[in-house]
């Protein structure tokens, strides 16, 4: 055992021999770290939940639907509002910043699709070549549509997971020819199974074809149901949505004061996320934990100063029998560090407990990570050194002769 280890042991012995004092030294840090940890756990939990929602729905997605806000929510199944055109989509892509992808979207329900002796009724979507990125619909087998499919009005189709199952069973659909209405399409890909979306849309029961093919060969109309846009920077999404609105009003020659003939929809989750992250409650709790860390540090310093004056004889004796001044300094710093680290870890554990309790009661979402433990170790070490240094220096600078001569308290 080397000298540092022996000093560490002395520090431990000293703390164990005065447990009440040691506990009081820890108390401020326990409270501070506990509240900090609870904040972190709940913050992490909330963030994780938002990311989850975001991953499902697309937080960087702007949807522009044809028709005014009133019409969009009208209970019509296939609306026939000729306000959005492919050129609008191109204008958005070409004319605005912060845009990653734009895709026009047409759709119609109730198309009969036939392969061999199998037939299903499904919904046909006409889209651009980046639609699967925008809506986060990866292709499981084969490929998605590409630019030349759109340019050449190719008769190719990407099938929803269940549509493919119903038509082909276990057989591989890629490269097979299906019939949609009177047109023959080659199957180019199959989407990954999506399940039922929260909005009730069945993503697995549909067929996606190039927008040009849908408008010019199948549906026989040029107007769109919607345009979907993925932005580059989701934080600037509201501004981008407003720019789109202005652009389209200009293109559609809508007079000032008149209603839009389209509806720009932003994801609600982004607003919610912004709300949570800027929450004043979080700031308040962090401030409280900062203050209690500070108070904890002052308590440590005070109790250590008292301890130093109560232990003058001990310090004098240690110096007399061969302790160097830095040995005394180290022993007292070790005591402060010991107390702070134990307090910090107890606090972190307590904070995790509080967060879990709140999560269990349904008040908050909590996620346990290593972050609060790392922060508590770092913060408590800092507090120990900052507030322990002065008493430790004071102890180490005692004159052994004077210290031993001091009257006992």
């Amino acid at each position: 055992m080397n000298r540092s280890m022996r000093l560490l042991q002395q520090a431990g012995d000293s703390l164990m021999s005065n447990r009440l004092r040691s506990f009081l030294m820890m108390l401020g840090l326990i409270i501070g770290i506990a509240s900090l940890t609870a904040v972190i756990c709940i913050g992490q939990g909330t963030r994780a939940r938002i990311m989850e929602m975001v991953a499902k729905q697309g937080w960087d997605l702007i949807m522009i639907r044809a028709g005014s806000a009133k019409q969009v929510f009208a209970p019509t199944t296939d609306r026939t509002i000729a306000s959005l055109m492919e050129a609008d989509a191109q204008a958005i892509e070409a004319g605005l910043g912060n845009i990653r992808y734009v895709s026009p979207v047409q759709n119609q329900r109730g198309w009969e699709v036939i392969y061999g002796d199998q037939s299903v009724k499904t919904r046909i979507f006409g889209v651009g070549p980046t639609w699967h990125h925008i809506r986060r619909r990866p292709v499981e087998r084969g490929e998605f549509l590409n630019q030349s499919d759109v340019v050449n009005m190719t008769r190719v189709a990407v099938l929803g997971f269940r549509t493919a199952k119903m038509l082909f069973g276990p057989a591989d659909p890629i490269g097979q020819t299906i019939r949609i209405g009177s047109e023959a399409f080659q199957v180019k890909g199959v989407f990954v199974e999506a399940g039922i979306a929260p909005g009730g849309d069945d993503w697995d029961d549909r067929i996606v074809i190039p927008i040009t093919t849908s408008s010019r060969r199948l549906f026989g109309r040029l107007y769109l149901e919607q345009i979907v846009v993925q932005v580059r920077d989701a934080r600037k999404l509201p501004q981008t949505a407003e720019q789109i609105r202005k652009l389209l009003r200009g293109r559609h020659q809508i007079r000032a004061g008149a209603e839009d003939d389209f509806f720009v929809r932003e994801p609600e989750d982004v607003k919610e996320a912004a709300l949570v992250t800027s929450s004043t409650l979080t700031a308040l709790l962090i401030a409280i934990s900062g203050i209690s860390m500070l108070v904890g540090g002052v308590v440590i310093m005070n109790l250590m100063l008292i301890s130093v004056s109560q232990r003058v004889h001990e310090i004098g004796l240690r110096l007399t029998v061969g302790a160097r001044r830095r040995d005394i300094l180290r022993q007292f710093l070790f005591e402060a560090l010991f107390v702070a680290l134990v307090g910090g870890l107890l606090g972190a554990a307590g904070g995790v407990g509080v967060a879990s309790l709140l999560a269990g009661a349904g008040v908050a979402v909590s996620k346990i990570t290593w972050i609060p433990f790392v922060i508590s170790i770092a913060a408590c070490s800092l507090v120990a050194v900052v507030f322990g240094l002065y008493p430790a220096r004071k102890a180490s600078r005692l004159d052994p002769v004077m210290a031993l001569r001091e009257k006992r308290m």
Binding site: M1, S14, E314, L319, T320, G322, R325, V401
Partner: protein
């Protein structure tokens, strides 16, 4: 062993300069048992602190076991106090919350080198007759026993000299004699001891007596008929049993 030459010590407080030691010289050879005696204010405590490497003289030279103690730095003095000097104090200065063993082992914390500490501590505790009480805390020990623990602590690093400052000052006669008996036995075993006292009866247990007066050596003579602590203890026992009926 100890060579001091013309040691002076002055304390300055504002414009007032107090000269506590006014030029002291003597040598202590290996194996000597010296008592340093003087009334309070004679400078004996200051001299003791200088001998122990806890304080430095204003002037003069001091060599301990070949080391220049005036020039030595703070770390070197710490090492010398740890390795070469064993301290015994009037107030014992034991750690309340540690048992006898832990108290004895205290200097070993600051000794470089590993292991053997517990065995060494047990040996010195046995040497002062406290082998059976090694796990007792100071509160569970009598004053005499506490001072014996302190002596064991002073011996645990096997120092070249034992410095004792009024070692019997807080003890009754019997316990004082027991401490002195241990010192005399250590002397017979070849150890070097220097003991400060104001009490002539205590000082006469040493073999040489240095008398300080007003910061100077007033007298430095061998003790012609040293007292023997063990004989005195036996006489006390006989007197006690003789007082009993029968």
């Amino acid at each position: 062993m100890i060579e001091i030459e013309n040691i002076t010590k002055k304390y300055t407080k504002g414009a007032i300069v107090t000269e506590v030691l006014k030029g002291i010289s003597f040598r202590v050879e290996h194996g000597e048992f010296v008592a340093i005696m003087g009334p309070s204010g004679s400078g004996k405590t200051t001299l003791m602190n200088i001998l122990g490497g806890l304080d430095k003289p204003t002037g003069g030279a001091y060599r301990l076991d070949g080391v220049d103690m005036v020039r030595a730095g703070e770390d070197e003095l710490s090492r010398i106090r740890n390795r070469k000097i064993g301290f015994v104090f009037q107030q014992f200065y034991l750690l309340d919350r540690a048992d006898a063993m832990k108290n004895v082992m205290l200097p070993l914390i600051y000794a470089d080198g590993n292991g053997g500490g517990a065995g060494r501590a047990e040996k010195v505790l046995a040497a002062v007759g406290l082998a059976a009480r090694k796990h007792h805390s100071p509160a569970e020990l009598s004053g005499g026993e506490q001072q014996r623990v302190a002596i064991a602590r002073a011996l645990v690093t096997d120092p070249v000299i034992l410095l004792a400052d009024e070692p019997t000052g807080n003890l009754d006669i019997r316990n004082g004699l027991e401490v002195l008996a241990i010192f005399q036995r250590l002397h017979r075993e070849g150890r070097t001891l220097a003991m400060i006292t104001h009490d002539r009866a205590v000082a006469e247990h040493a073999r040489r007596l240095i008398v300080l007066k007003d910061g100077r050596v007033a007298d430095d003579q061998p003790v012609h008929q040293p007292r023997d602590a063990e004989t005195e203890l036996r006489l006390m026992d006989q007197a006690a049993s003789g007082a009993e009926p029968g």
